[in-house]
């Protein structure tokens, strides 16, 4: 992580003369060059003002350019590279410049000017306050809209650092600054600084502390490692000092830039000239992903550019490069400006996947194309492409096996997977843009959160799977069936709600994507590849269930662990982890019956289609509610998801009911599991056991004495 020096002094030119004093300019240049050479990646030009603030005090600091740096130090590039390598900072890190205002505040009236609406303060990146008495310090800690409190430690303290005030400031996210150049002045000052600053270090315990140079000349600048070690004189540990020099600065800058340049800290506001155009077909999202939270927009210098500028031998290349090259992105766009239709038309990811799903159903031949389109739309995630390719593989297998009569089934498989693709992206996006940068991103994450809600909803259906109910709720097989019925009722009600139905399986498969183990997908393949010569469904179920139960047990453990490790801020983790496992289990189950259904269809394909439907009805007829759903299904061909769910569940039920012997074996298993589960449940009773044992021991002792 790069190191920052957020205090390079800048002397305001005298009011009469417009230009910065030549000496001041060269000093600033030298300081900046030295800081850059020593391996710092960011500086802030600090301007201090005293007395009443006026319009004239708004930011006029000219940021340094590459050319001027090169002029001062011709061999800067190699030296910077050398030092960065030794510090472990990547050479490509841009050198950033910020502007900073330090206000010396003495009176309460001046305090009141430190509010968020002050246009003078808005023109600077960083606002620091130097309190000169107790009242001002308290106000700065508790109320003032500042980023940093810079205290003068060189003299006798003008106020007392009170612990509650410091804590209040830390709570509000205000940083305290210590300038190490004070330590270098002379012995007397050093003594004073150490004694004063130690108190601050003690109160803050290294939290919200920033160390900067504040150097009046080049000889007072030190390298990052030296500064970190020097802070041991103030009682700051190496890690804390390192954080104070790098991480804390970075966090503060990111925070204040977000506050400054984002609307409500979430939406980036950018000025676009009328000539520039804006379309979502072009990779705006890529641009957003490249958005640099630390860039102040200008004054960033890349080492490569520095080298180039030097190679140009003229050594006068007045060009300040930006961290993000917006112009190059915007150049290649069409000329028709920003239109709302663009967003609506080319927003494949925010829309619910239902629309695509219907397409897929109508012409299954074009499915691969659609999938390809999905792949194209999700270029930015290699992982996702992987999953999609996997999906393609699955599909091709489907194609080889399934006859044209089973169009619907294929459609189902496709929808399921497509949903997984699109929603998978939703989730990934949510992970990546935790600080949701643009409007689009916001909506996406909203969608994702919807999905998570739906997951919760569908997880109720997840209790359908017998293995789970076996494990968690030890019940008799009959009860299991009952529960299945009730939950299936719920699902049938839910199926009216299309979105839920879609997101349900989608989220199932999304879990496939996130968990690397991918047991479930392996199961899929297995089931699909299963040969036709199963005579009955029940047989297959018998063969499948035990093995799968084992699988899922194993899976549950691993996935839970992984989920806990990959901390996702937006989702309630512990709940989700359990839910995901449920869903995974369900997905494993729901997919396998589907495959069975395919085989089944193939078996039946010699007969007419109607008989097939009848067959389905027959399988359904175990449950009244499912008859309704099946009818619904027949009527509405468009909602495939309904069907898919319905079918999977019906077959599921069929499985539960038809294989009685299977239930027996499973109940045997349940007992075994119950045995396994018991010890932790008994733990609360351990004190009693201990008591009894204690009694026994005491009795023994009595015996011994006797």
């Amino acid at each position: 992580m790069g190191f920052f020096d957020l205090s390079i002094s800048y002397n305001e030119p005298p009011r009469s003369g417009g230009k910065e004093v030549a000496g001041g300019k060269t000093l600033r240049l030298k300081l900046a060059t030295k800081a850059m050479e020593l391996g710092y990646v960011g500086i802030a030009h600090n301007r201090s003002i005293k007395g009443v603030m006026s319009e004239k005090d708004s930011c006029t600091i000219p940021l340094l350019t590459l050319g001027s740096l090169i002029k001062v130090a011709p061999r800067l590039t190699s030296s910077v590279g050398f030092h960065r390598d030794l510090l472990g900072v990547p050479r490509a890190t841009p050198f950033r410049q910020y502007t900073r205002l330090t206000v010396h505040v003495e009176s309460n009236a001046q305090c009141l000017s430190l509010n968020s609406g002050n246009p003078v303060l808005k023109s600077y990146d960083i606002i620091a306050v130097r309190p000169m008495n107790q009242n001002v310090f308290d106000y700065a800690c508790e109320k003032a809209e500042v980023d940093m409190i810079s205290i003068d430690f060189t003299d006798k303290m003008l106020f007392r650092l009170k612990h509650p005030m410091v804590q209040a400031a830390i709570k509000r996210g205000i940083y305290f600054e210590i300038k190490y150049s004070d330590l270098l002045v002379d012995a007397q000052t050093r003594r004073q600084v150490i004694s004063n600053a130690k108190l601050l270090v003690d109160w803050t315990r290294g939290k919200n502390l920033i160390i900067s140079s504040g150097a009046p000349s080049v000889t007072e600048i030190r390298g990052p490692n030296d500064v970190i070690n020097l802070m041991s004189l103030l009682g700051l540990s190496t890690e804390k000092a390192r954080a104070a020099l790098s991480k804390n600065c970075r966090n503060m800058i990111a925070k204040l830039l977000k506050k400054k340049r984002f609307h409500k800290e979430a939406v980036r506001v950018e000025l676009l000239s009328s000539g520039d155009t804006f379309s979502l077909e072009q990779p705006l999202s890529g641009d957003c992903m490249k958005w640099d939270p630390l860039s102040s927009g200008e004054g960033d210098m890349l080492l490569d550019d520095l080298a180039k500028a030097f190679d140009a031998t003229n050594a006068v290349a007045h060009k300040s490069s930006k961290a993000i090259d917006f112009t190059s992105v915007l150049d290649g766009l069409p000329k028709h400006g920003f239109r709302v239709e663009d967003i609506v038309g080319t927003e494949p990811l925010t829309q619910p996947p239902a629309a695509k799903v219907t397409d897929a159903q109508v012409n299954t031949n074009q499915v691969s194309e659609v999938v390809m389109a999905v792949a194209a739309s999700s270029d930015d995630n290699p992982q996702e492409i992987e999953t999609i390719s996997q999906i393609d593989m699955h599909m091709s297998e489907d194609d080889t096996k399934v006859e044209p009569t089973t169009n619907v089934l294929r459609g189902e498989a496709i929808t399921l997977r497509k949903c997984s693709a699109s929603h998978g992206q939703g989730f990934l996006v949510q992970n990546q843009t935790a600080a949701s940068f643009t409007l689009i991103r916001c909506t996406k994450s909203d969608a994702a959160s919807d999905v998570s809600m739906n997951i919760e909803a569908t997880s109720e259906g997840g209790s359908l799977s017998p293995s789970k109910s076996d494990r968690v709720i030890p019940q008799s097989p009959v009860e299991v069936i009952n529960m299945g019925n009730t939950t299936s009722d719920e699902v049938s009600v839910d199926e009216n709600n299309k979105e839920r139905a879609t997101t349900g399986p989608a989220s199932n498969d999304e879990m496939h994507i996130t968990e690397p183990g991918d047991h479930a997908s392996v199961d899929d393949v297995k089931h699909i590849a299963e040969p036709e010569h199963h005579t009955s469904i029940a047989d297959e179920m018998k063969t499948d269930c035990p093995s799968e139960a084992n699988h899922e047990e194993y899976m549950e453990v691993t996935v839970e662990d992984q989920k806990r490790e990959t901390g996702d801020s937006n989702i309630n983790l512990p709940n989700l982890s359990s839910e995901t496992t449920d869903l995974l289990r369900e997905s494993g189950k729901s997919l396998s019956p589907e495959a069975v259904g395919q085989d089944h269809d193939q078996v039946q394909r010699l007969e007419s289609k109607e008989t097939e439907l009848k067959e389905e009805e027959a399988s359904v007829s175990y449950d009244n509610t499912f008859e309704i759903t099946m009818e619904q299904k027949k009527v509405e061909e468009s909602t495939i998801e309904d069907k898919q769910e319905g079918k999977s569940e019906t077959i599921h039920l069929a499985q539960v009911q038809s294989s009685g012997s299977n239930n027996d074996t499973r109940s045997g298993k349940t007992q075994a599991k119950r045995r396994r589960v018991r010890p932790p449940q008994l733990l609360p009773f351990m004190p009693f056991l201990l008591q009894s044992r204690f009694k026994r021991i005491s009795r023994k002792r009595k015996h011994g004495r006797a």
């Binding site: 011709p74 030296s79 050398f82 030794l86 050093r190 080049v218 030190r222 490692n225 070690n229 020097l230």
Partner: protein
Amino acid sequence: MVGFKNRYMLMEVFLDPDKDLLGEGTPIILTQFNLSKAIKDSILVNFGECGLGSSLGSFQVKYVNPITKLCIVRSSREEHRQVWSAITLVKSIGNCPVVLNLLDISGCIRACKETALKCDKEKFEQSSKSLSEEEIRQMNSCLEKIKLLEN
């Protein structure tokens, strides 16, 4: 196991950084003697007689390269942070303002030697364009010296 442990600090000296930023001119010639004197003075000022006394046992400037302005300072492990702080607080050698910057710190001379050789070469390449024959000869002798360093 060795009971007594040392730390070897590879430092880089910027002579008169205010004048020219990359140490091109040489207002004074850097030697082991004047460098160690400056550091000892700094220890005395900052940590007193006791601090100086406890660190003097193992303190030594092992190597100085006047061309690339690299030096290796040895100190005992217990005191090395103190010595390092004192080195950081050095402001001048004689009348010449200096800035000392740590490049590498290691626990054995061998590792330090390797890094020093690497840094020496890199810095030499940076400034090799403007060097005379005499200086190049001196540089080579320094490189020979660094290879012979022990403890």
